[in-house]
């Protein structure tokens, strides 16, 4: 999407991955290859879902894009700049709640601003605005442990939004929530995404989640993770999960994924047998 073949890194793409590979513990006996030769572009404002079996390295790709880990080979750029370290432009939201329990909700949301040394008025105002956008304005002064799991993830989203990121990286953010809450959170995320104009890279192993959210679905192979196929989804939102188009897409994604899940299983069993 919009990548120029002559000078691949001059594109305006939000994220560009070129031949990205990652081997954990490279050069040791425990070395294992997580990602191999990933090529991927994410356009500004695009919602891309990374779908694959557990342990296929899709979360690893997110950490690489966030700048929290270094690639073994290949390059990652974001809006022309090479990714070398974490940046507030690329906010990462984790599966497990990652709010600081010793801070109140608004202090959590304003944490990034306090790192920059912003004055208290500005921090409060930004936190209030970000919390209002996730519908939790009245929870400002609560403590994280007083909130439900879904509310905590909304606060985590508010904390990411407070940094006005250009790219939102989400690592199975709703995996720990129950099914009903998850459906609500998906609607909520789509609203937030549309308002913010940020690109989203969303990792999941749930096909339904991919069907509900994605502009494009990137299907990963089992380890080492490679891109098996990229499936564009041109359906208007909100999507009715029971519509024939969605059903068709679900069948297609299930077919893409089935072989990989079997392979992942076989590999894990082989590993367990060896150990």
């Amino acid at each position: 999407m919009g990548s120029e073949p002559v000078q691949p890194f001059s594109s305006k793409d939000a994220v560009v991955c070129r031949a990205v590979s990652k081997t954990w513990a490279a050069g040791t006996a425990r070395a294992h290859e997580a990602l191999r030769a990933i090529d991927l572009e994410v356009a500004p404002g695009e919602f891309v879902v990374l779908l694959g079996p557990s342990g296929c390295g899709k979360s690893t790709l997110l950490y690489l894009v966030a700048g929290l880990e270094e690639t073994t080979s290949g390059e990652i750029h974001s809006f022309r700049d090479p990714v070398e370290r974490p940046s507030p432009d690329r906010s990462l939201i984790f599966q497990e709640t990652s709010l600081f329990p010793w801070l109140s909700v608004w202090q959590n949301v304003a944490f990034g601003l306090s790192i920059r040394g912003a004055p208290e008025d500005e921090r409060r105002a930004t936190a209030r605005e970000a919390l209002a956008r996730v519908g939790l304005a009245e929870a400002m002064h609560k403590r994280p442990d007083e909130l439900s799991g879904g509310m905590r993830q909304r606060v985590a989203v508010a904390r990411a939004l407070a940094m006005r990121p250009k790219v939102l990286l989400m690592d199975e953010p709703f995996a720990a929530l129950d099914v009903q809450t998850r459906a609500k959170m998906q609607d909520f995320l789509l609203d937030v995404w549309r308002d913010s104009g940020a690109s989203v890279l969303f990792v999941t192993h749930h096909i339904d989640e991919a069907v509900a959210l994605a502009d494009r679905v990137v299907v990963f192979t089992a380890r080492p993770g490679r891109i098996k196929s990229i499936i564009p989804v041109d359906l208007p939102r909100p999507r009715d999960p029971f519509s024939p188009e969605c059903a068709h897409l679900r069948v297609r994604l299930t077919g893409e994924l089935r072989g990989e899940v079997d392979r992942a299983f076989a590999e894990q069993e082989a590993l367990a047998g060896a150990a």
């Binding site: 974490p86 940046s87 507030p88 990652s98 600081f100 306090s114 790192i115 994280p144």
Partner: protein, 310 residues
Amino acid sequence: MSGNLAGTAGRLRRAGSSITAPRPSALPPALRQALSRLGWTVVSVGLFVGLWELAWLLGIADPRLLPPPHIFLGNIPDQARFFNTATRWQIGVDAAAGPSPYEAVGITVAATAGRVFAGLAIAAVLSVTVGVLVRYFALFEKLTLPTITLLSPVSPIAWLPVAIFIFGIGNAPAIFMVVVALFFHMVLSTVSQIDGVNRNFVNVARTMGATKRQIYARVIIPAILPQMLIVLRLNLFGAWMVVLVAESTGVGFGLGQVIMLARNTFNPSLVFFTIALIGLLGFLTDWLLRQVQRRILYWVPQTTGVLRGL
């Protein structure tokens, strides 16, 4: 003596009734819980005392060697005589000089408790600082951690001569003993707490552009604080143990010195009286630290409820 037994039984019964019949009405739950805990403490101690008194009654415990509580607690003024804090070896000070026996008990207790808290405070600040530095600067770790690990299993008793060589007698060697007994493994514990900090916390701060210093000051230190306070509470008992050893070698006055006096004059009553004092003090200081913990660490969930359900 039988009156004392009856008193114990009465206390048992009263404590029991306050637990088994919690009035559903007026008392707030927090107070009721506190009362129940106090009640059970009384029952637990009462049981121990009761068995001891029984052993004495049956002639198993010789009162000259193992005097039961009603004997060693029966004549407190008599015990208090031995807590003399007057510096009688000085010329011109006669035997009756100095504070009254009760004042002397107070001064002795305060002196020992002061040494415990001074040592604890110094050890806590020093070891958390060193532990954080170990993880912060890789070179510092390489230079210090092997030595710290090497020294941490050394018994505090072995440091006693060192304490005297360096500090002579007085408060300093006793405080030094407390510090040296706690410092090494509190450093190791700090390091392992830092290693156990939720990686997501650190990663969140990193993606927001926090520097290494900010991550340590605003994420890692608050994250390890709850465990460190628990470590401190556990070490509080260690501090009480070590301070007695240190005091027994001559610091002017202190509970350890009283124990040594009791040993040298074959006075088991005085030994048990002092032990009772120490137990009470340790219990009170632990309670105090628990209150501090609850105030500062409001976010730490109370998880004992899970085990109750088993």
